[in-house]
Every structure is written in C-alpha cells, then in structure tokens.
Subunit: 136 residues, 2 copies
DNA sequence: TTATTAAAAGAGTTGAATGTCTTTTATTAC
DNA sequence: GTAATAAAAGACATTCAACTCTTTTAATAA
C-alpha cells in the first residue's frame, strides 16, 4: 500500500530514536546493519530525511545521524507524506476515474470512513509513541 | 492500493455485464474503445479472465466476450483475488516484517478492523450489484 | 475450402521504483 | 596541513508492472 522506502524510513527513524543522542550518533553502517539494508540505498533515504528536517547528521569521524528529543514528536503521518506524498490515499479504492460523493461506487463511503480512521491514527502516532508501543 | 489491471478488469466486466448476452457478444475492440485501453493489453487481461472462468469468449466472425446471467453473481472480491492474489491485504500497513496480535504495531488493530470491513463489503458486492449502484 | 474475422499467444519495450557502485565533500584527530 | 572517517552526491544497474507489436489459432460465412 505504501512504498518500501517509507517502511525503511520508519525503521530507520525507530532505531535512531532509540539509540541516538546528540553525543551518541548512529552511523550509516550501524543503521544499515540493524535494519538489514544496503548502506548505499539507506544513505539516499537518510539524506532525504535530513534534507527535509526529520533528523540531524554530521560528516566525519564520530559523525552520523541523531534525533533531537523534540523531533520524536513528529508523526508517522508526517513521515509518510514526506516520503510518499499524499496521492495514495486520495483515489478510489476500485480505481474508478471519477468517484465522488455525487456519483460514488459501492465501496466509496466505507472506504472514506476506513481511510480517515487510519489517517487519524497515523496523525496521532508520534515516533516516540510508536517506539513505546512496539517490541523490535 | 490494488493493481491497475484489477481496475481494468472491473471496468471490462462492468461493461460486458451491461452490454452483452450470449447472442450479443462484445468484441475486444469495442471493449477497448469503451474503457479507453489498448486492445492488445486488454486482450491479455480478458484472456486471463476467460481462462479463470469469469466470462466466456469465442473467436471468429461475430465472436467476442459475454457474461452469463448467473456469472453476474461473482463478487468484486473474487475478481480482485483472481487478478491480484490476496497478499496485498495480508501484510502490515507500516511494512513491519513480523506484525501480529502478540507483537502488534500501533496501527495493527485499527488496520485489521478497516481491512475486514472493506473485504466484507467487497465480498457482498456482486458485479450485478456494482452495476446497479453506479452511473458510468 | 477459402477468405475473413476476432481472440489467443508470444516476444519485445518502457518507465518508475528499487538498489548498487564510485566519487566527492565535510569533519575530526593527530 | 595531512590522513582518516563518514555522510552526500551522482552515475549506473536491476526489476517488475504496464504496455505495444506481431504472429498464430479458431470460428464463421460464402
């Protein structure tokens, strides 16, 4: 439903939120090992997340990625939108070109309800909360 | 969320259910024109649907595709499964490799509920019902 | 039985997402 | 300032769904 890149980004944020502080950075290699992804590809994802302000990085010896305390309040919905955009959830489940309240398909209303429930929950779930809820 | 092929298959079944009888078949070209898809690609999709028993076809002059009355009772869920399989709906929304009732993610329960509501409705919606509900 | 029609089959192409490899840039430690 | 470290950047490769084009097979009609 969502992209793999989003899943990787979420796993990476999860790990970094747990393991990093400003004085204890996580290197790309450590991160790549922990989430089982090639460091090259993960590098691109991380680069993009840093650029968009989801976490911090510094180059050089002792460098790496880390997450400020206050940034663990960002939600998985924000992360999803940053990585995948919002086009995914804004189309007819059945692929009808024009499906709307005036001319809905039989799935339309139910899909809207479900979609909104899931989006609401994603908007309420911060990285911090996500981490508190799951066992790795 | 689902494949384009499924959307095309549904549109094709919709058109054929409306326009065909055993003595009034719909040709591939007519169908392709009506749903705005290249006849070659549509041909493959139709071929597969015929092979799987969702509708009938005959070659030659006057040939084409048609849907038996009783086959309009097949559901859009059956069509989806035939085209896309069922793997789509059976994975964690957030892409966790092992997400289950014992070790769920924060989205797990809500997603299960929504997923089941949508699947139930798809199982209840026959091609016939689908056609009665929508305006083209 | 031959020409025509129309689906079936198969080979090839494209584009986007995903993934790999190499080079560059920035930072630190000495 | 030089060597080492580690992220950033960019070029290249792979994969898969989606799509196109060509050939074959089956059915009909005359």
């Amino acid at each position: 439903m969502f992209s793999r890149t989003f899943a990787y980004a979420l796993r990476a944020m999860t790990y970094i939120a747990q393991e990093s502080k400003e004085d204890q950075k996580v290197s790309l290699d450590e991160l790549a090992t922990s989430i089982q992804l090639s460091p090259h590809y993960l590098g691109k994802i991380m680069q993009e997340l840093v650029r968009k302000g989801f976490l911090n990085s510094v180059k050089g010896p002792g460098g790496g990625f880390w997450l400020d305390k206050q940034r663990s309040d960002i939600t998985i919905y924000q992360l999803l939108n940053a990585v995948d955009g919002d086009q995914i959830v804004n189309s007819c489940l059945m692929g009808r070109l024009k499906c709307n309240a005036k001319n809905p398909c039989p799935m339309h209303d139910e899909y809207l309800i479900c979609r909104n429930r899931l989006i609401d929950l994603m908007k309420k779930t911060s990285i911090k909360k996500w981490n508190e809820s799951i066992e790795l």
